[in-house]
């Protein structure tokens, strides 16, 4: 039985390093630039405009992720567009 595993342990720094490295490399390879993010934003807006009216000033889209890269968006909806 793994007695020592019963107690929550801080991961060793080597493992932390490997984790961080994987993240960094994904970012580097994706090579996201601020421009890319802007283009992504405006494309998303165009699509959404078919269905909803959005408060564009409060729109927040970003690439984040402590557990892996994720596109995180906060899109405040003003009203739904009727078909």
């Amino acid at each position: 039985m793994d007695f020592f595993g019963l107690f929550k342990r801080q991961p060793k720094s080597g493992a932390i390093a490997k984790n961080r490295l994987q993240l960094v490399l994904i970012q580097d390879r994706m090579n996201t630039t601020p421009e890319l993010l802007e283009m992504l934003k405006s494309d998303i807006l165009k699509v959404l405009a078919n269905y909803v009216e959005i408060d564009e000033d409060s729109l927040d889209i970003d690439i984040n992720g402590s557990e892996g890269p994720a596109l995180v968006a906060n899109i405040p909806i003003k009203s739904w567009k009727t078909r």
């Binding site: 932390i16 390093a17 993240l23 960094v24 601020p34 984040n64 992720g65 402590s66």
Partner: protein
């Protein structure tokens, strides 16, 4: 008015980035307002050593090209609220930044911050010229090895030629056991050749590897001997005289045994 310090070495891999990060953090812990700038062109390192690699949105080239405001590019470190990082660009274009642009940037930063630490890339090319352009003083990092000292000598010559008057040495990765055995150059060997004052002596220490793994500079770790060396260096930069620490290791089983039986110089 702030002070711009460039951390340089000539040779790569001797500890410039680690030194920049630790000095920057050390000064921030002491309450100073600090900006760290990664002056490399194309390769990014300072952000990783600081553990801020996932916070970068804008970088040095974005600032210089006016794509963003300076404040937008300065990354705030939650652990050290008075410290900010300006990351390197991943561009391959050597002419993306000019010495004049660096000088202007430093002038702007001097007005608001106490210390601006510039992490210089290896070599003596455009990156180096950019990094020293706005500097008031220089810290040269070297290890006690032939190629490192040769490159450091070259760098000191170039710094003196650019009229940077305050040039001091940090000797890194010292191993007193090897020095005692005559397998490593002594501190005097190095200072005889470089002929500049010593700002700090940093022992070779595992805790540096661990701290880089975690993205937490050793200067904040009270158990780290290298961290202690950097804390001392921070004090000296602020003008306080601190005696150089005893580099001999005081821990370890052998030393403890020696102490018990009073053999040798177990401390």
């Amino acid at each position: 008015m702030g002070e711009v310090i460039v951390v340089t070495s000539g040779k790569g891999g001797v500890g410039k980035t680690t030194t920049s990060a630790n000095i920057g953090c050390g000064l921030a812990i002491a309450g100073k307002n600090v900006v760290l700038i990664d002056a490399d062109i194309g390769l990014r390192n300072l952000d990783v050593v600081m553990g801020l690699e996932n916070r970068i949105v804008y970088d040095l080239v974005d600032v210089v090209e006016g794509k963003c405001r300076l404040k937008q590019a300065l990354i705030k470190d939650k652990r050290y609220p008075t410290m900010f990082l300006l990351a390197a660009a991943q561009t391959k274009d050597k002419s993306a930044v000019s010495p004049e642009q660096m000088m202007k940037l430093c002038e702007t930063l001097r007005e608001e911050y106490d210390y601006i630490i510039i992490d210089c890339p290896a070599g003596i090319e455009q990156g180096f010229k950019n990094a020293i352009a706005g500097a008031d003083r220089a810290v040269v990092v070297a290890t006690p090895e032939v190629s490192s000292v040769r490159d450091a000598d070259r760098i000191v010559g170039l710094l003196e030629a650019s009229e940077i008057k305050n040039i001091r040495l940090i000797l890194n990765r010292l191993r007193p056991d090897m020095i005692r055995r005559g397998e490593m150059m002594t501190i005097e060997d190095v200072t005889d050749i470089l002929a500049i004052d010593v700002l700090g002596l940093v022992p070779d220490d595992e805790s540096i590897v661990v701290s880089t793994n975690k993205g937490e500079p050793a200067v904040a770790d009270n158990n780290s001997r290298a961290g202690q060396a950097f804390r001392n260096i921070t004090q000296r930069i602020m003008g306080n005289e601190v005696p150089f620490m005893d580099l001999e290791e005081t821990g370890g089983l052998m030393n403890w045994l020696k102490k018990i039986f009073r053999i040798g110089n177990g401390k």
